[in-house]
C-alpha cells in the first residue's frame, strides 16, 4: 500500500515536473491563492465562496452551461479533468473534492498539498457544514457565514409541513427522487412534498393511473436528444399530466448546493401562485 502511494506520488510529481518536497500549503493564517477543485459540486462552492483571484482551476464540467448555472464565472478559470494528475502542474495550495475517489487524500498529503475532501451531503445540515468547511479552508469565513445565513433564512421561512403540496419530481427517463433524500428536503423548502414512489424511476403507466397533484419537471439537458429525453416524447407522456406542471432548472439539482437557494426562492413563488 505504502509502495503504491509512493509510486503514485512519484508519477504525480513527474506529471507536474515538480519536486514534491517543495512546500505548497499557505503559511498559517494566509489565504490559499492557487485553489483547485476536482468535482462539479466543489466547483460550485469554490466559485460561490472564493475571491476569483484565489481560483487556479475548476473541472471541465463547470465550463458547460448545461451542467451549472455558474458556467460563465467558471470559464474564467483553467479547466481540469477531475484528477490530481491534471492539476499538479498548477502547484495548488488547496485542493477541493467530494467523495474522495482512490487515495487522493493520502497522495495529496505526501505531496504536501492541503486537500479538503467533503462527504456527499445527505441533509441540509450537511450542505451548511460543507459551506462552512470550504469557506474556512479558503479563509473566507464571513462569506461562508453570509451563505449559511441565506440558507437559514430560507429554512426559517419555509411553508409549514401541513401546508406543503404533494408533488412528484420527474426527470428524463422517468427518474425521480426519494421522499427522504436531500432533493425532497429542498422541495419542502419550496412548499412541496415529494410523494411516495416506486424506486428511482416512475413508469408512464404509474403516472397516468395515479397522477400527482403537481409534477415538478426537471429541464436538465432538455435540448439534447437522449434515451431519457426520448421517454418524455412518448405519446402518452403528453397526456400523463398532473393537475399542474412546474418546470425546474435541472442543472441546479445535480449538486444541490448554493445555486439551489435561488431556485427554491423561484419555485416558492411559483408554487404560491
Amino acid at each position: 500500500m505504502r509502495a503504491f502511494a509512493f509510486l503514485s506520488a512519484i508519477s504525480l510529481a513527474l506529471a507536474g515536473c515538480w519536486a514534491p518536497s517543495e512546500p505548497h500549503a499557505p503559511a498559517a493564517g494566509q489565504r490559499p491563492m492557487r485553489v483547485v477543485s476536482l468535482n462539479l459540486c466543489t466547483d460550485e462552492l469554490l466559485l460561490s465562496l472564493a475571491d476569483p483571484a484565489q481560483i487556479a482551476s475548476v473541472t471541465h464540467l463547470s465550463h458547460r452551461e448545461e451542467e451549472t448555472a455558474l458556467a460563465p464565472a467558471a470559464r474564467a478559470h483553467t479547466a481540469n479533468d477531475g484528477t490530481l494528475a491534471s492539476v499538479v502542474a498548477l502547484r495548488p495550495d488547496l485542493v477541493l473534492t467530494v467523495g474522495g475517489a482512490g487515495d487522493r487524500a493520502g497522495i495529496a498529503r505526501r505531496l504536501g498539498i492541503p486537500l479538503v475532501d467533503l462527504p456527499y451531503p445527505q441533509t441540509l445540515e450537511d450542505v451548511e457544514r460543507s459551506i462552512r468547511t470550504v469557506a474556512g479552508a479558503l479563509r473566507r469565513e464571513p462569506t461562508g457565514t453570509q451563505a449559511v445565513a441565506r440558507l437559514s433564512a430560507l429554512r426559517a421561512t419555509a411553508p409549514a409541513q401541513a401546508q406543503a403540496q404533494d408533488a412528484l419530481w420527474l426527470g428524463g427517463g422517468g427518474r425521480t427522487v426519494s421522499p427522504d433524500g436531500l432533493e425532497a428536503a429542498w422541495m419542502r423548502l419550496a412548499g412541496l412534498r415529494q410523494i411516495e414512489d416506486r424506486g428511482d424511476r416512475v413508469e408512464l403507466e404509474h403516472l397516468i393511473t395515479d397522477p400527482p397533484p403537481i409534477l415538478l419537471r426537471s429541464d436538465y439537458r432538455a435540448g439534447q436528444y437522449s434515451r431519457d429525453q426520448q421517454w418524455l416524447g412518448h405519446p402518452i407522456a403528453a397526456r400523463a399530466r398532473a393537475a399542474r406542471t412546474i418546470v425546474t432548472e435541472g442543472r441546479r439539482w445535480t449538486c444541490m448546493g448554493l445555486p439551489m437557494i435561488e431556485e427554491v426562492e423561484r419555485l416558492r413563488r411559483e408554487v404560491a401562485q
Partner: protein, 321 residues
C-alpha cells in the same frame, strides 16, 4: 406433441391477455375516470410492452435454437456467444458517440454489432466448435464488447451517458411506444420466419456436414443465413429493449426435449417457450409485491444462471441432447 402445441398456443394467448390486463384494478379505475386515457393506456403502453415481451422472447428462443444447431452445442446462445453484448455495443456507439439515438439508427447499430460479434465468433471458434472453445471465444467476445461499450460511454459527450444507458442496458420493456415496437417487430418477424424456414437444413446438419452436403444443402450459405438472421432479429430487439440474458439458452433446451432432440425442429417451440418465459418474467417484474419494478434482465439472469450451471453439470455427467 399436439397437446403440447395446444398448451403452448394457449400459453401465448394467456401471456398476452395477462400482460394487457394486469394490474386490472388501476386499468378499470382509469377507464372509469377517463375512458379515452384508459384506451390510450391499453394501446400506447400495454400493447407495446406485451407484444415486445412475446416478440423479444420468441426471437431469443429461436436465435438460441438456431445458433445451438449451427455450432452443434447446447451452450451456444445469443448472450453466451456475445451476440447481445455486440448488439448493445453497436447501439451505444451509434446513440452515445455518434449522437443518433432514433430507433432506426440504434437498431441499425445493434444489428451491425450483433453481426460483427457472430462473424468474429465463427472465425475464432470454428464451424463445429468444442464446448470449451465456444465458451472461451464467447466469453472473450462478451468481455471485449462490454469493455468497448464502457469505453464508448466514457468517451460520450454527455457526462451522464452511463446513467442514461444503465437501465436500458439492464433490459427493460417499460414505456416503449408503438413506433419502437414497429422497429423491433419488422426485423424480428423477418428473422423468425427466415430461421423457421432453415429448420430442415439445420436438422440435416445435426447428422454431420458431409450428410447435409450430400443431401444438397450448401453449408456456407446456411451459416451466413443463420448468422445474419439471428443478428438482424436479436440486434433490433436489443436496440429497443436492451440486453436480456439466458432466455436464448433456456428455451431451446426445453424445446429440444419436445422435438426428440432435433435442433432444427426445435426452433418454433423454442420461440414459443422464449416468448412465454419473457412474458412471465415481465409480469413478475411488474406485479411482484416489492413495491418497485425490477429490471427484467436481472430476473431472467437470476433464473437463467442456476439453469446454466445445472446444464454444465448435466453435460459433465453425460447429458447428450
Amino acid at each position: 406433441v399436439t397437446a403440447a402445441r395446444i398448451l403452448l398456443g394457449a400459453g401465448l394467448l394467456a401471456g398476452f391477455a395477462l400482460s394487457m390486463l394486469l394490474p386490472l384494478e388501476s386499468l378499470l379505475a382509469l377507464i372509469e375516470r377517463d375512458p379515452e386515457l384508459g384506451g390510450m393506456l391499453l394501446i400506447e403502453l400495454r400493447l407495446p410492452r406485451a407484444a415486445l415481451a412475446l416478440l423479444y422472447g420468441a426471437m431469443l428462443g429461436a436465435a438460441g435454437a438456431a445458433i445451438q444447431a449451427l455450432f452443434a452445442n447446447p451452450l451456444a446462445s445469443p448472450d453466451l456467444t456475445g451476440t447481445t453484448s455486440g448488439a448493445a455495443l453497436g447501439a451505444v456507439v451509434v446513440a452515445y458517440l455518434l449522437g443518433a439515438s432514433g430507433p432506426f439508427a440504434m437498431a441499425s447499430g445493434a444489428v451491425a454489432g450483433a453481426l460483427g460479434s457472430l462473424l468474429l465468433l465463427l472465425a475464432l471458434a470454428g464451424r463445429r466448435a468444442e464446448t470449451a472453445t465456444l465458451l472461451l471465444a464467447g466469453l472473450a467476445m462478451s468481455a471485449m464488447a462490454g469493455a468497448l461499450t464502457t469505453l464508448a460511454l466514457a468517451l460520450a459527450p454527455s457526462p451522464f451517458a452511463f446513467y442514461d444507458a444503465y437501465s436500458w442496458l439492464m433490459g427493460s420493456l417499460a414505456d416503449r411506444s408503438l413506433t419502437q415496437l414497429a422497429f423491433a417487430a419488422a426485423p424480428a418477424a423477418v428473422s423468425l420466419i427466415g430461421l423457421a424456414r432453415l429448420a430442415p437444413a439445420l436438422d440435416r446438419l445435426s447428422l454431420g456436414e458431409e450428410v447435409a452436403e450430400s443431401l444438397g444443402y450448401k453449408l456456407a450459405r446456411l451459416r451466413v443465413q443463420v448468422v445474419c438472421l439471428s443478428a438482424l432479429g436479436v440486434g433490433a430487439c436489443v436496440a429497443i429493449c436492451g440486453a436480456i440474458g439466458f432466455i436464448g439458452l433456456v428455451a431451446p433446451v426445453f424445446a429440444r426435449r419436445m422435438t426428440g432432440g432435433h435442433p432444427g425442429r426445435a426452433i418454433i417451440p423454442a420461440a414459443v417457450i422464449g416468448a412465454l418465459l419473457l412474458s412471465a418474467a415481465d409480469l413478475v417484474s411488474r406485479l411482484a409485491p416489492w413495491g418497485r419494478t425490477l429490471p427484467i434482465g436481472v430476473l431472467t439472469a437470476l433464473i437463467g444462471a442456476p439453469f446454466f450451471l445445472w446444464l454444465v453439470v448435466r453435460m459433465r455427467t453425460g447429458f447428450s441432447r
